[in-house]
């Protein structure tokens, strides 16, 4: 946030004056299941990207390339919506 954390130091009214700084808040840490994509099955329909509530599907050149694990909360919507069952939800305790 900057220098001080006292009531005199922070913007009034709870206003946030730094655009997009929510990205620094890592919400991925409370995930219990993580999504994993099988790229052989994935057709880049991008439905997972459309439905992800946390903007955590990574897309490059209109191709689904992976997940933003810093912000993915493991809700499983991407896995549920994928028409090709390309996304699997694995317990965080498993490796891979």
């Amino acid at each position: 946030m900057g220098q001080g954390t006292g009531w005199r130091d922070i913007p009034i009214g709870g206003m946030i004056v730094e655009a997009g700084n929510a990205v620094r808040y890592r919400t991925g840490e409370w995930r219990a299941f993580r999504p994993v994509v099988d790229q052989d099955e994935c057709t880049n329909c991008l439905q997972c990207w459309v439905f992800c509530p946390d903007s955590s599907i990574l897309v490059e050149d209109e191709e689904m390339v992976g997940f933003d694990y810093d912000h993915c909360k493991g809700c499983g919507i991407c896995s549920a919506i994928c028409p090709f069952d390309a996304i699997e939800m694995l317990a965080e305790t498993t490796s891979g």
Partner: protein, 394 residues
């Protein structure tokens, strides 16, 4: 004074709004303020203002739209009363804590139940903890002038808090008076242009309003609100002085009436103060040293200032037009706060509360006279026999 017109309190406030020409008014009707927004809507329809008028589906929506518009950077006004104010309650708090300079005339009317459309102060008193500046107007002239000043008070960079301008429902709101109306340009020059420091519509400097604020920072934001409220008195005085320099009548925190050499006094808000002044004059003719103090500002509560002006008295009666149920002795809020002020800032004082006029129950000069006679008795005996009296109830 540019001209004198026959206006009731609602029309006078609508006239102030026309001259202020706010960017946005989002409003819903409710007796006895409907005439304010209805008259203003006619101004909009007639092209007399540039205001974007949003006819919403409820008062909750009205204040919500006002909050959005104000955060966007607009100068915003609305008006309400009674259950309308109650319906917008959560957003009323949000307007203050988001630090939005919204100006809202409140035409004081009793809260239900049972349904009552007439005057008492339960509505604005019910919102006294919400963080708004609250001004009370004795008559239509004051309602008009307070509304104009409220815009400057709210928008002052040391304040940035919303302001409620109160007047008595029907008694002031629907009673036609001779109101001095200033020239449009003079009012426009006085209120000036609103420059929001961080408007949502400034796309080059994006900001977020109303985010989540947990135990790590909420307390600090509330401390900021306290700081703003502590500045409010100076801002109100500054604007009141400037108003005097511009228009000829200076406004203060309260108005004393034949108080300086008085032995006993009544403290009362709004139109009843006008009635009480007549009683003071009559009793003075009898040689009785009685006086009156009419607070204009209830929030922030000017405790030290009131004590300073009242401490020479032998006994004080507060007349409250609302009850704080379950409060100490089921008293009214003006009494409770004045009692606290005397405890902290003043000498031991004989104080009595007279709750009156609930639901528009009329208060007659003879009843106010009886309060003064009670006070003279208290001054003589040194005893307050009854802390709270409900004046005029059968």
């Amino acid at each position: 004074m540019s001209e004198f017109r026959a206006l009731d309190g609602c029309a006078a406030v609508a006239e102030a709004m026309r001259q202020i020409n706010p960017d946005v008014v989002a409003a819903y009707p409710i007796t006895p303020q409907t005439a304010i927004v209805m008259t203003f809507a006619n101004f909009v329809a007639d092209g007399l203002v540039d205001t974007e008028f949003i006819a919403v589906d409820s008062e909750h929506s009205a204040m919500s739209a006002c909050v959005g518009a104000s955060a966007a950077g607009a100068r915003v006004m609305t008006a309400t009363a009674a259950n309308g104010l109650a319906l917008m309650w959560e957003i009323v708090y949000i307007a203050a804590s988001t630090r939005l300079p919204i100006v809202m005339p409140v035409v004081n009317r009793a809260l239900s139940a049972p349904i009552n459309i007439h005057c008492d102060h339960s509505d604005s008193m019910g919102a006294r903890d919400a963080g708004w500046v609250q001004l009370y107007s004795e008559n239509a002239q004051e309602a008009y002038e307070n509304t104009i000043q409220a815009v400057r008070i709210a928008e002052h960079p040391d304040l940035l808090l919303p302001v409620m301008v109160c007047q008595d429902g029907f008694i002031t709101g629907h009673s036609v008076e001779r109101v001095g109306v200033y020239e449009d340009q003079k009012v426009r020059d006085f209120v000036g242009q609103y420059k929001s420091a961080k408007p949502l519509l400034d796309l080059d400097n994006p900001v977020t309003y109303g985010p989540l604020d947990l135990y790590d920072y909420y307390f600090e934001h509330k401390r900021q609100q306290v700081e703003a409220m502590s500045q409010a008195k100076d801002v109100i005085l500054e604007i009141g002085r400037e108003f005097g320099e511009t228009f000829g009548r200076t406004y203060d925190i309260f108005e004393p009436y034949k108080l300086e050499d008085a032995e006993v006094g009544i403290v009362v808000l709004s139109s009843t103060a006008g009635t009480a002044k007549v009683v003071v004059d009559r009793l003075r003719e009898e040689g009785l040293k009685v006086g009156l103090l009419k607070p204009r500002v209830f929030r922030p509560f000017p405790g030290p200032e009131l004590v300073g002006a009242l401490k020479h008295l032998s006994a004080i009666a507060v007349m409250d037009r609302s009850v704080s149920f379950g409060s100490m002795s089921d008293a009214g809020p003006l009494f409770l706060e004045l009692a606290a002020a005397f405890q902290i800032y003043g000498p031991r004082m004989r104080l009595a509360d007279y709750v009156f006029g609930l639901g528009g129950r009329d208060i007659a000069p003879a009843q106010i006279e009886s309060v003064y006679r009670d006070l003279l008795g208290i001054a003589e005996t040194g005893q307050v026999k009854q802390v709270v009296t409900y004046l005029g109830v059968r």
